[in-house]
């Protein structure tokens, strides 16, 4: 492929020289350059228009935002966090109105600005369930902020973030990152990783145009069957922690900001630790353990005074690999079982009079049978 590119470049340069030597005319060359530039700009704009949604979390975020906007006034419990939560919580299984707003690789800064926007628009909101996997405070997410994620810019474009917030964020992340992010949001195709992805896996992006993922109240199912190797767990843990700070200062500041924001709005904060496999826990113990996480975060008086409850399911399915899509994400079976457990835990917090009868759930006819099928398999196993 590289060779082909070099051959094409050489041939076209040679032909250009040949033509220009024979008959050189500045006007024609300048005109040709202008026309080429116009054609290229039109192509880029078209690709931008076509793939803009696909570039951002596979269209998941747009679908979730649209779904959220439709029902924000009824939501009583909001789940917010990274992808661990996105695949694990099925809001339709709750007896009260819940919504799972957890795009993948969401860090504390994005959670904060998202919640800041959401809280004022959800009059019935009582509880925010904050997903805090062990890797949530890793400085790895700074790397993503600088290199890939346009989500913050999406939040800004859709008024989830105000200019004031972008300014505030710039102080932490650097203004160049923010400006770069804004530019590449307008032209995502020009962003090198995106362009590379478009060239190498264009069929994936085309598939994203017609998402086969079902997104129900923010939950998207994963259909993996627990084929998890130790090597994969090792790689994932290294990816999360190696060479990064486990507790990054900026994310700790934003975590405190989230807690204070909810406290000021009289909203309870529940912190949830989603299940991971035993191999993930084993490798992660080289960088962080549950005890350290509790000592530094959950039992730290600075934060704990704002935390209403801790739901710790970290090693709940440690040995049940059949519930996992990969080492730290539950599949559909795991999500069904896990959501039932979480629903039981949350039931006490919501008053009986506020219980929301989830009649809309029946409308998801395509998906309902799948849900009941999986649920019955689980119940059968229990008996």
């Amino acid at each position: 492929m590289y060779l082909l590119c070099y051959v094409i470049i050489s041939l076209s340069v040679f032909s250009l020289f040949y033509i220009l030597r024979k008959n050189f005319n500045w006007k024609i060359v300048f005109g040709a350059l202008c026309v080429t530039a116009v054609i290229l700009i039109v192509c880029i704009l078209f690709l931008n228009y076509l793939f803009q949604e696909s570039f951002i979390a596979g269209g998941y975020l747009f679908q979730t935002m649209k779904s959220f906007e439709r029902q924000k006034e009824d939501i009583q419990i909001l789940f917010s966090g990274p992808s661990e939560l996105q695949f694990a919580i099925i809001p339709s299984m709750f007896r009260f109105k819940a919504f799972n707003f957890s795009p993948n690789a969401e860090d504390m800064t994005e959670s904060y600005y998202k919640l800041k926007y959401c809280i004022n628009r959800m009059p019935k909101l009582k509880v925010v369930v904050l997903g805090t996997p062990l890797s949530i405070f890793s400085s790895l997410w700074h790397f993503y902020n600088k290199n890939k994620v346009f989500r913050r810019d999406i939040f800004y474009i859709y008024n989830y973030m105000k200019l004031k917030d972008v300014w505030e964020f710039g102080k932490f992340e650097g203004f160049w990152t923010v400006v770069k992010g804004e530019f590449f949001h307008i032209f995502p195709v020009l962003f090198r990783p995106n362009m590379a992805f478009l060239l190498e896996k264009w069929e994936v992006l085309v598939r994203y145009l017609y998402p086969d993922r079902v997104v129900l109240d923010g939950w998207s199912p994963a259909f993996g069957k627990g084929n998890i190797t130790k090597e994969f767990a090792r790689q994932r843990v290294r990816h999360h922690f190696e060479g990064y700070e486990v507790f990054d200062k900026t994310f700790l500041i934003y975590f405190e900001k989230i807690l204070k924001l909810c406290h000021n709005h009289n909203i309870k904060v529940i912190v949830i630790l989603c299940p991971v496999t035993d191999s993930y826990l084993q490798f992660a113990s080289n960088y962080i353990t549950r005890d350290i996480f509790y000592k530094k975060i959950l039992k730290n008086p600075k934060y704990s005074k704002y935390i209403y409850k801790i739901l710790d399911f970290l090693d709940l399915f440690a040995k049940h690999h059949e519930f996992f899509d990969d080492v730290n994400h539950l599949n559909i079976n795991g999500a069904v079982v896990f959501s039932e457990l979480v629903a039981d835990e949350l039931y006490d917090i919501i008053d009986e009079k506020d219980v929301y009868r989830n009649i809309d759930f029946c409308q998801f006819s395509d998906f309902t049978h799948l849900y009941f099928m999986t649920r019955n398999i689980y119940l059968g196993r229990q008996r």
Partner: protein
């Protein structure tokens, strides 16, 4: 007749140049992107 030929030749050169510039710039862009090595999990789940 000769004038017409000259005119067509001018257009021919022009479109040939546009074509060659397009190929050149697109190939340079493709090469630039191909050289980019994303991390193992860049576009997978995190």
């Amino acid at each position: 007749m000769r004038e017409r030929k000259e005119k067509y030749k001018k257009y021919k050169d022009f479109f040939l140049l546009v074509f060659l510039f397009l190929i050149l710039f697109i190939t340079i862009g493709v090469l630039y992107c191909l050289k980019y090595q994303p991390g193992p999990f860049l576009y997978s789940r995190f």
